[in-house]
Amino acid sequence: MRGEGRQMAVISFRRIVIARMIAIGIVFLLVAAGIYGLGLDPGMVGRLVVTSTFGTRFGLENLALYMTPLLLTGAAVWLALRAGLWNIGAEGQFLAGASAAAAIGLSGGANPALAGSPAAFMSSSLTLVLAMTASFLAGALWSALPAAGRAWLGVSEIITTLLMNFIALYMVYALVTGPWADKVTGAQMSSARIEVVLPAFAGAVHCGWPIALLAVAMLALLFRRSRFSYCLALCGSNPEAARYAGIDVGRHVFVTLLLSGGIAGIGGMIEVFGTVHRLQGGLANGYGYLGIVVALLARKSALALVPAALLMAIILNAGIVLQTVQVSASAVLAMTGLLVFAIAVADDYAAWSRSGRAS
């Protein structure tokens, strides 16, 4: 117990929002000080970030394109957290899903003779559906080993899911420099271009964005009204009590981690078919790890994944903007870390009241 205060059991939404606003404000001030220290005018940089992110079509599209994978990896991590599980492996599951989807996309091959015909539409729709299914299965499969270890042997999923990330990364490297290497344009560390693409939604934004939003909405609905979500909450809160309630904790842990991996896998498919159009070494871009941040920001609400992913997208896009004024990409990582830290402190701070009840 700390000081004279008392940790509140339920923290009001208002307190959280206020504490987080303060935290974000402090981070902004620190970042501004850092920018000033680099010899730049923080006001100019701030205006540049705001105008080019929110004031241009490209900036807004960038936000949506960043949000899409973050929503899905965030949802993946969030789902596992409902059961008290830390899926650190969304990055690897994302890549596994991307690889499986790329396998479908590369093997299908659009037939130029059919271009524009209903047959081509059917075949590309089929490819997309197949790729999405395959990516879900691959993502789930990628988390199956850690899931089984956690569910029935008590092996910490934090370590195993993390290690699977490295396997996935090197598997992708092996694929894109070996059997799937692009021999047409000589693109480095890339598979050949996949001709089937996700249909456009608006401008450069493909329909992966509404799909990701829909996935989050479905997750929110599932967690309002399903028995499964109740069981997960119980497994996460007290496995012993879950057993007492007649819940097969191992099976729930396994299924949850599989679903979590599958969602991250779909994120990989959408990135391949919507944004990058190739399987690529740098494809995951840290989305799996940033998904952890998004899930933590969202706390217990699935719908809060949307603003959390948006905030993360704004930060990432600010990182791109900052690079044009020679602030390095790693400074953006530091900024993200600072923000997560500040928000964690803010959440904890919001949970403390100056005074409490008698013990």
Partner: protein, 529 residues
């Protein structure tokens, strides 16, 4: 600022018997008050603890014992009043200052590092054990410590492998090793069997003989009578009185504590009418092994009837819990069969037992019966979420669950405005009421209750016992696992005594004396079946 304290302590508080005048108390509280918004946790508490005495603190849950001890151990600072140590006024900046002053507390939930060995735990926080330590040095140090306080440990065993009583001993040695002169124990016998209790008593008496002071927080009157030199009763944050132990009857103490005389006798259970048509839980040559393959329950066959309270007695850890968990479907027998109302339930899932109307109150509320971080709503639905209106095959109806939770809360008589608040915020007694209300609703046929009185104050205990009797009187069967022989004798229609995983005897009401049962519990003696 030295002061002779003998005058300042209120004359209503007798000094320990035979204690010389002029020697100051080891620690005195003077007019200590502590307020939380809207709550008076302690008000004007004046108390003195002398070297060489065991001082019991008695009070219901919420009477202010914990707050007072948090002040003494430096976690809280009093809003008013002061602490006087060896005649000097002190103010503890934090727990470290209290430890340095020689005040040590053995908590109900031990503050040991489970993954560390005993030796490592003992060395933690010791100023003389800093820097780089060789394993040999560590082991030698730990052996020395254990011997000094009269305990023998395998100091290289990891704490997580120890039983609760062993962990308690490690905790005591650790606290004493840090130089405690004032030892505070919170419900120390809750985790102990009878033989371990007497060992603890002996250790505490040794400590007293060496000039140490003990504060004993306990609900158990017989324990206080047996051990304490003085007793202070707290009620609503205030000191009611301090007595020399033995100067007052247990009934009078209870009266002071709860403010009215306790229910003297339980509603006398009706004699058990023998009716072979009544539904039963029937065990047929049931055995069970634990994870390490040890036989925890030797072959047992018996029928438990609706309309009776079937007591299971024994020293803790002799297979009672394993048996109870089998009756509730949480564990499956390795051999043999379980029938409920004639239906074979062997190997069926917990949910099937719930559907058959078997409620279960586990021994550990926070670890097993509740999800402390979740709200009362979720906890109320814990065992009924599969069936309408709360749930279904796939669905979960939050509104229905909230309504159900409110119903249980009303039934249990808990004052709780918001069922979404985590139940860890409830007092132990209220948590148990919630569990009992939930399981009683499930128990259309039988209720299996494991140590339901653990950690409850007397008021809550009475409520719980009445509830069990009420269930029995409305034709439900109750299986009561208890370590409290008086409770078993008062409530049970029949008592099964277990020892070493065997049911030594099943005794009808009035068939055996306490002594007979005690002999059976210790593995001796025999009884009729």
């Amino acid at each position: 600022m030295y002061r002779a304290l003998s005058e300042s302590v209120s004359p209503a508080q007798p000094r320990p018997a035979g204690y010389p005048h002029g020697v100051p108390p080891l620690l005195a509280l003077e007019g200590v008050s502590k307020y939380f918004p809207g709550v008076v946790a302690n008000e004007n508490v004046s108390l003195a603890f002398y070297p060489g005495e065991i001082h019991a603190l008695l009070g219901e849950n919420g009477a202010g014992k914990s707050t007072l001890m948090n002040i003494v151990t430096g976690l809280y600072r009093p809003d008013r009043g002061e602490l006087v140590l060896d005649g000097y006024g002190v103010s503890f900046d934090g727990p470290d200052a209290a430890i340095a002053a020689g005040i040590g507390m053995v908590h109900q939930h031990f503050k040991l590092v489970p993954r560390f060995t005993i030796a490592e735990n003992l060395a933690l926080g010791r100023r003389d054990m800093r820097g780089i330590l060789s394993r040999r040095k560590l082991v030698a140090f730990a052996r020395r410590e254990a011997e000094k306080y009269g305990f023998a440990f395998d100091v290289e065993a990891r704490v997580e492998t120890l039983s609760a009583p062993e962990q308690q001993r490690v905790e005591i040695v650790r606290v004493l090793g840090r130089g405690a002169r004032l030892l505070i124990l919170d419900e120390p016998t809750a985790v102990l069997g009878p033989s371990e209790v007497s060992e603890l008593y002996a250790a505490l008496r040794r400590f007293r003989a060496d000039g140490g002071a003990v504060i004993l927080i306990s609900h158990k009157l017989e324990e206080i009578m047996a051990l304490a030199d003085r007793v202070t009763v707290l009620r609503r944050g205030r000191v009611v009185a301090t007595h020399l132990a033995g100067s007052l009857s247990p009934q009078a103490l209870v009266a002071e504590m709860i403010g009215h005389a306790p229910v003297e006798a339980l509603p006398a259970p009706e004699p058990l009418a023998v009716d072979p048509d009544r539904e039963t839980i029937s065990l047929r040559d049931v055995t069970m092994r634990d994870e390490s393959g040890r036989l925890r329950v030797h072959p047992v066959s018996c029928d438990i009837f609706r309309g009776e309270i079937f007591g299971i007695g024994g020293v803790t850890g002799n297979g009672q819990v394993a048996l109870a968990e089998m009756l509730a479907g949480l564990r499956h027998p390795d051999t043999g069969r379980i029938l409920v109302a004639g239906q074979d339930m062997t190997g069926r899932p917990v949910a099937a037992f719930v559907e058959m109307g078997i409620g279960y109150v586990p021994q550990d509320r926070l670890r097993q019966a509740l999800a402390p971080a979740l709200g009362a709503t979720e906890n109320a639905a814990l065992r009924v979420f599969r069936t309408p209106p709360v749930g279904g095959r796939f669905l979960w109806n939050e509104d229905a669950a909230t309504r159900y939770a409110r119903l249980l809360i009303d039934e249990a008589g808990i004052a709780l405005a918001d069922p979404s608040r985590p139940v860890r915020g409830l007092s132990g007694g209220n948590q148990q009421r919630l569990v009992l209300a939930r399981e009683s609703r499930i128990a259309s046929r039988f209720l299996v209750a494991c140590y339901p009185g653990r950690g409850l104050d007397l008021g809550a205990m009475e409520t719980m016992r009445s509830a069990l009797v009420a269930l029995r009187n409305t034709g439900r069967g109750v299986v009561l696992v208890s370590e409290d022989l008086d409770e078993l004798l008062a409530l049970s229609d029949r008592i099964a005594v277990m020892s070493g995983g065997q049911v030594k005897a099943i005794l009808g009401r009035g068939e055996a004396t306490r002594e007979d049962i005690g002999a059976l519990m210790s593995g001796h003696g025999s009884g009729s079946r």
